[in-house]
Subunit: 167 residues, 6 copies
């Protein structure tokens, strides 16, 4: 039986750190499905549709990676698609705590589910979508942190010079 | 002199994890007062009044547990009620850091105050009110995570299927 | 060549913990510039102008400390001012993770930049601007947590008694 | 191509927590090899041979689990056996830090190697070989923490009543 | 029924940090018993007898504190003495992880047992017996870190000037 | 007045991670003194004299770095040399906790002392002397983890193939 793994996230935007996990996960399992969640943020940088398109742009580089939208509970969606493994990347201790809670509660909601974790590569250990958003909004150059198809979209947005966020 | 302990929180909603701490705390001290804080969240799932009612529903199961509303600073409220011990549950490291800061600053504001901590039982280590809220809003079944009197209220609310939060 | 260090933050408000780091940093380097960031919070307690004024009030006590406003990306601003060292205070593990990410990403954005950290003194380990804001809004006395020129301003604001935040 | 995963450790002794990871790992991959390391402890509770035997006793319950001795560097041994995936269990933050360092350094020593992590199930989050050793040495009953074939061996050892270790 | 709490440790030596927890614990419960464990260290600084004597010297200052030797498993000893509450001090995250594991495993060994934690006061957050031992062995002055009856004993020991430990 | 900073450690052996901190520290301060501590390990890989020699070999590359032996308490030694700043590298959370304790206790022993921390560069975040020792002892190639003058010495030692340590 083929092992298909789900890789869920909001991907606002998808970064080189996500791409690293996708590449390694697609190499380890028979197939990988990127689940783009609709997100609970009031003002995401990119719309749900844009985030799905950017994930699809990355998925094309692999022959066993696909993209699905995620509206509702992840475990419900996984049951419907008969996917039993979730892949998550770990960068930091705070990630660890959050993922630990998620793995345990998802197991309660879907006992057949298994959560598998991969450590971030050391060159991406500092990288997060929220940092990329902040730097882009303040007019910084994020081209080294995101794949080309994300970088193009970020450049088309006017920098929010008045926001004044300190990083 | 009787040892009365305060157990403060927003309890939006109160979970089986809280119930576990209440049971163990009520067993250890002469009395326990659940302080339901008005909350700083803009959109709590339950109103202040509902959260107080749910706590009262749980308190009835014990002969030494009562409920009080908390509007304003906890230390001010404890001084007014001559309560000198605060009980808090610990699940994770992030809890630990937060509780450590709270214990130290509350000591500055009320030098007679003592903070006592209990570890979450291992079956509740993943459980938080915010997770319960998210799952309920996405149409998931939270009946195994909350006491019956909370579960009934959650079922009466329509699921927010369009929110699309990934967990 | 003189070693000038930047000490960035939103300082809403500046606390005795910040003052401790400023004093120790000003002693260690030839000059220290407090960079007051415009902030991404929708409703800061103090306006950008007020926060700059309070920092200037503290800076006057030192002969090698000055204040600059920060609108935009920190690394851009530091490059413009030819400042190559950032000073940050560490209180807790969560601080550590955040600062670690910041140090690494700022290094990517500005390879000549060096980040230097100082541990908070033990009497300030619990102290944060957000805690000071919460206590002040709930009518608590924060005079022992902030410098006099901040305390005066906090007293002039009416307490938000109806907010009911539990700490 | 079959995905074979290595599960290395000293297993002094192998516990129910290890068994849980072995079961879940064997379910996720085509094969799992328990690598029993010779250990750097001066006085292991069980000899290298005993630890291998106990692992073999567990492996018999699965049709895709085997046992190999590990003398020398793990990455050298994995290269010789053409195994490219390491499985590790995570219980706590300290585990996380250690595993993070191991995953990164092993990647340096063997760039094709991938490390995959699984969270401990919540009922085993407290369980470690060193705790089992301590309790057994002080005459406590560890039968609920270890598989039967380990329990039998522990019972045959006289308790070290004079050691007086506090747990 | 009187609530008696056990405060176990190796106390090699007992420090001002321990004394702070003893004072606060004795104030919160009806009685407190210091359990001095025989220790698994090969070369403790003080013998089992000396450590018991130093604890007794402190206990005399309180009317509800006593001292008992601990040889063997803590939970066995607590059952024999019908003590159902263990008190532990928390200074740091590493303490937290260790105490969390201990609380959970002791609960398995003795289901009626409750573990209660108190945060270290901020002035003792850095203090540990092992640090005191190291400083004393290198000829440093530890009189501000330990009670007088410990300080006297430490002074009588010749400093191990040749050890050359870096702190 | 010139700012001289002490960089203490056991350096058994000195690694590329240490070298990175030395380079950055020497750039930030007027002078840097590597204090090689005699060490409390019973069996260091390198003798005190060898560790001093290897540090001297590195120091020659800089015009403001020197080496001193450290026998006894660091703070005593710093007072004697009138050095008031200690530099330490941070890789992980466990480092953070240890360094936090050290900074606070050293401040108690020597109130004029300031501790300054630098984050490890991301490519060295996994690197420690103990890992280098383990890999070398098991016959692994550590040449990419240590400076050339350390690598040469490690190669001259016979690998301890029988030790069988799992990493």
């Amino acid at each position: 039986m083929k092992k298909i793994v789900a890789y869920p996230g909001t991907f606002d935007p998808i970064t080189n750190g996500h791409l690293d996990i996708i590449r390694r996960g697609a190499n380890l399992f028979d197939g990988l499905v990127i689940f783009v969640a609709k997100s609970n943020e009031k003002h995401p940088l990119f719309t749900f549709e844009e985030r799905i398109e950017m994930a699809q742009c990355l998925a094309k580089e692999f022959n066993n990676v696909s993209v699905m939208p995620l509206e509702g509970l992840l475990t419900t969606c996984l049951k419907e698609n008969n996917i039993k493994v979730v892949l998550r990347g770990l960068r930091t201790m705070s990630d660890f705590e959050y993922e630990f809670q998620m793995a345990l509660i998802n197991k309660k909601l879907y006992p057949d589910l298994e959560t598998v974790l991969m450590m971030s590569s050391s060159e991406f250990v500092f990288l997060s979508s929220s940092l990329v958003r902040e730097i882009a909004l303040l007019g910084g150059d994020v081209s080294k942190f995101v794949p080309p198809c994300v970088g193009k979209r970020l450049k088309r947005r006017p920098a929010n010079n008045g926001r004044g966020l300190c990083i």
